[in-house]
């Protein structure tokens, strides 16, 4: 009797139908991610409009309509109305790279730059054969670079006033970076130690440095440091700036590393003590490797900040890339060409800083062992 109640009864399993069109593939992805709600649709259209209205214009300006061969801004403008005039960079790129360093001696900073990468290899590549020997060799790099750039001992000496451009940025940045990490570690350990006097000295130093803008410290280096030195002792201005920038960065570094030290579970410290390790052994073998690993993003951020802050030296009259803009604009032929100059310098800094931040992300992923 029940036979007629059902119109159709399947006796075998039906094959699965494909998912409805529009929920898979490119169309589905676009629907899901770009047009899932009215608000999302508006945002998407708005973003596409922004991209559409800026990107072609910028590309045209920078690449398609740009001029590379010209002797003055007027010549550029005669050739193209809406293009960038990169001729100024072509004419002066060596200044933006080396400042007023003697042209015939360019091989010295270039060699120093190449050696920098060789010296960095053992520090950055942890799978390197004979790494510890290579690291020892890297330690000698600062002295070699100093000798190459400033001369002396058989090389023709070059005065600090001739330094400028990216060379100056690299000198201040690299020395600041390489000295601020060890000083920062020492300061962080002092601040988190249980020796009251050492601790308060570290706190005073760190809070003082972090409490004032870098520019005031550079002013001190510029106008005040001579008062605090014995008569007759006179540091080079670049050296003074390097010292101040290093102090500045190491105070920030100390706070970043202290964060890492504080984030370690207390059991790690207690386990190290229970193993009978001395303070320095436990720091070197147990605490610091973990604390530094946690603080990598912060450390690299401090590095990037330091590298960007090197531009501040223009305020005390040093010729870093940004400081070279004014002299270029003062040239009759290039008067008014600021957009190209700023764009070029911004691009230069972007490459270095972006590379650093990507490397830190890579390092973070690599060292992430899954138990944080």
């Amino acid at each position: 009797m029940s036979e007629n109640n059902f119109a159709f009864v399947s006796t075998s399993e039906k094959p699965q139908l494909p998912p409805p069109q529009g929920t898979t593939g490119a169309v589905g992805w676009i629907r899901e991610n770009l047009f899932s709600s009215p608000l999302n649709t508006i945002l998407t259209l708005l973003s596409i409009f922004v991209v559409y209205s800026t990107v072609p214009g910028v590309v045209n300006w920078a690449f398609v309509d740009s001029v590379w061969n010209a002797n003055s801004l007027d010549e550029c403008r005669a050739l193209t109305e809406n293009g960038a005039c990169w001729a100024v960079i072509r004419e002066r790129y060596h200044q933006f790279l080396f400042g007023f360093y003697p042209t015939e001696l360019y091989w010295r900073p270039i060699l120093a730059f190449v050696l920098l990468f060789l010296a960095l290899v053992p520090a950055l590549w942890d799978g390197m054969p004979k790494r510890s020997t290579a690291l020892m060799a890297s330690m000698a790099y600062p002295f070699v670079a100093f000798w190459l750039i400033w001369g002396g001992f058989g090389l023709e000496p070059v005065s600090s006033t001739k330094l400028g451009g990216l060379l100056l940025t690299m000198i201040i940045g690299v020395s600041g970076i390489s000295f601020s990490l060890p000083i920062g570690i020492v300061l962080a350990l002092s601040r988190s130690s249980n020796l009251p006097i050492v601790k308060s000295l570290a706190i005073i130093f760190i809070e003082f440095i972090r409490g004032v803008p870098l520019i005031t410290l550079l002013f001190v280096a510029h106008v005040l440091l001579n008062y605090f030195l014995p008569k007759g002792v006179n540091f080079d201005i670049v050296l003074r700036v390097v010292i101040m920038v290093t102090f500045f960065a190491s105070a920030y570094m100390a706070e970043v590393i202290r964060g890492g030290l504080a984030a370690l579970p207390k059991g790690q410290y207690e386990a190290a003590d229970a193993l009978g390790l001395s303070y320095w052994q436990s720091m070197r073998l147990i605490i610091l490797p973990q604390a530094l690993k946690i603080s990598i993003p912060g450390i690299v951020n401090t590095f990037i900040g330091l590298f960007k802050d090197t531009t501040l030296v223009l305020i005390i009259g040093l010729m870093d890339p940004l400081g070279l803009v004014a002299p270029t604009l003062a040239d009759q032929r290039w008067n008014g060409i600021f957009v190209e100059l700023y764009a070029f310098i911004a691009f230069m800094f972007f490459i270095f800083c972006f590379a650093m931040s990507r490397y830190s992300m890579y390092l973070e992923r690599k060292l992430h062992t899954g138990h944080r």
């Binding site: 991610n33 770009l34 899932s36 999302n40 945002l43 998407t44 973003s47 596409i48 922004v50 991209v51 249980n194 020796l195 009251p196 006097i197 050492v198 000295l201 809070e207 003082f208 972090r210 409490g211 004032v212 803008p213 870098l214 520019i215 005031t216 002013f219 001190v220 106008v223 005040l224 001579n226 008062y227 605090f228 030195l229 014995p230 008569k231 990037i304 960007k308 802050d309 090197t310 531009t311 501040l312 223009l314 305020i315 940004l322 803009v325 008014g336 600021f338 957009v339 700023y342 310098i345 911004a346 800094f349 972007f350 800083c353 972006f354 931040s357």
Partner: protein, 400 residues
């Protein structure tokens, strides 16, 4: 049975100062103290000696001599005949002004960007990533100088601006700055201000009462609307009751220049703009990290308890992410304040520009000026840190 292997030798040996953990900490600390003190003594000694050799003394009397220079942008009455201290005060207020403005706009832009960065809309989140990475990896000083140059070249001279106002008779954009209507205060404006302050106090009382009532009875009041009402209604009533003492002063177009109104100079605008755009990228990252740190289970648990999405946000997610967001946010505000000292590059007269710039160069008193300058910044920073520490203490997870 165990026997002690430590000999009961209580006699003190000199090598214990270094080898014995009981004494070593004292040795290290005393050495550190001596080194630190001698460095400080040496620096001070050198400074005294060098100042003497140059025939300079150390006193702050110069602060009361006439400054002799003009300042373009000021919040308090100042002329070139005012003392150097007044110039420094104008500078300090200018620092605080641009820092405050930049903090507000950076927060607004940054929260917006940070939320969009988390959006699952691929185009939007990519666009925001490009903005954040592009802005964060370029030096702030470069951005300030570039915006300044852009503002100077894009906007017309005052003479042309008079012919092409943004809003006829009210807002003019020129390459020297923006002219907007300013506020004028006539007699009796104090009443309005007092009423406004009183209503702000009233809001706090009301909100506390509303919360207690909700905890006691479970009834929820429309707190937001009532707060807005308390803020606006009494102040508006007082404004009309006291005879409209606060008016607007419109800029007037002269033949070559604009008069009256409030002039917001190009240096301030460029600095404000650059600081906001730059810091907003950092705020965005802070906000993103804060929201991502709250696990999805929290939201799901709130839904399971029957809370609506809006209440879930305000009662469960926000209180937890704010605990993560606010400390880096405050140190970001501190950075904005310190970064505002880059004003000197575009000629905005902040504290560094007056006290550390022109006053220092005119009087030649490097030591006194730099000391005052650094002490002021230090004071600002330490008070902001004190606020932050207080906040951290109050929201710390109890009993872990």
């Amino acid at each position: 049975m165990s026997t002690s292997t430590v000999p009961a030798d209580n006699s003190f040996q000199f090598s214990q100062l270094w080898r014995d953990a009981r004494y070593r900490s004292y040795t290290i600390q005393i050495i550190a103290l001596i080194v630190a003190l001698s460095v400080v003594m040496m620096l001070i000694g050198n400074a005294v000696e060098n100042l003497e050799a140059l025939g300079k003394d150390f006193n702050f009397g110069f602060l009361f001599e006439p400054a002799g220079y003009d300042i373009g942008q000021m919040l308090v009455e100042y002329t070139s005949a005012s003392g150097h201290w007044k110039a420094a005060l104008v500078g300090l207020l200018n620092t605080l002004l641009v820092a405050f403005l930049a903090c507000v706009t950076a927060t607004l832009i940054g929260v917006f960007v940070g939320v969009l960065r988390l959006s699952n809309n691929w185009v939007v989140s990519r666009l925001m990533a490009v903005y954040i990475e592009g802005v964060r990896n370029v030096p702030l000083l470069l951005q300030i100088l570039a915006w300044y140059a852009v503002f100077i070249h894009v906007f017309p001279t005052p003479k042309q601006a008079v012919k092409a106002p943004v809003i006829e008779g009210a807002v003019y954009a020129t390459n020297r700055g923006f002219y907007v209507p300013g506020l004028t205060f006539d007699g009796g404006y104090q009443i309005v201000v007092a009423v406004l302050l009183a209503s702000i106090g009233g809001i706090f009382v009301f909100r506390r009462w509303a919360r207690q009532r909700q905890e006691a009875t479970g009834q929820i009041l429309p707190v937001g609307y009532i707060t807005l009402g308390i803020l606006i209604v009494p102040a508006v009533l007082a404004y009309f009751a006291s005879g409209m003492p606060i008016g607007l002063d419109y800029p007037v177009a002269g033949r070559f220049n604009l008069k009256g109104g409030l002039k917001v100079g190009t240096p301030l605008i460029a600095l404000w703009f650059a600081l906001s755009i730059y810091s907003a990228a950092f705020v965005a990252e802070i906000v993103r990290a804060g929201i991502m740190a709250i696990s999805k289970g929290q939201t799901e648990a709130a839904y399971a308890l029957g809370l609506r999405p809006k209440r879930t946000m305000s009662l469960v997610v926000l209180p937890q992410s704010l605990r993560i967001i606010i400390p880096p946010m405050i140190s970001n505000y501190l950075n904005i304040t310190k970064n505002s000292s880059l004003a000197i590059a575009v000629g905005y007269m902040d504290l560094t520009g007056t006290l550390g710039g022109i006053t220092l160069n005119q009087t030649g008193r490097e030591m006194e000026c730099m000391l005052l300058l650094m002490a002021t910044y230090l004071l600002i920073s330490l008070s902001i840190s004190a606020v932050m520490n207080f906040y951290n203490e109050s929201v710390k997870l109890k009993g872990r």
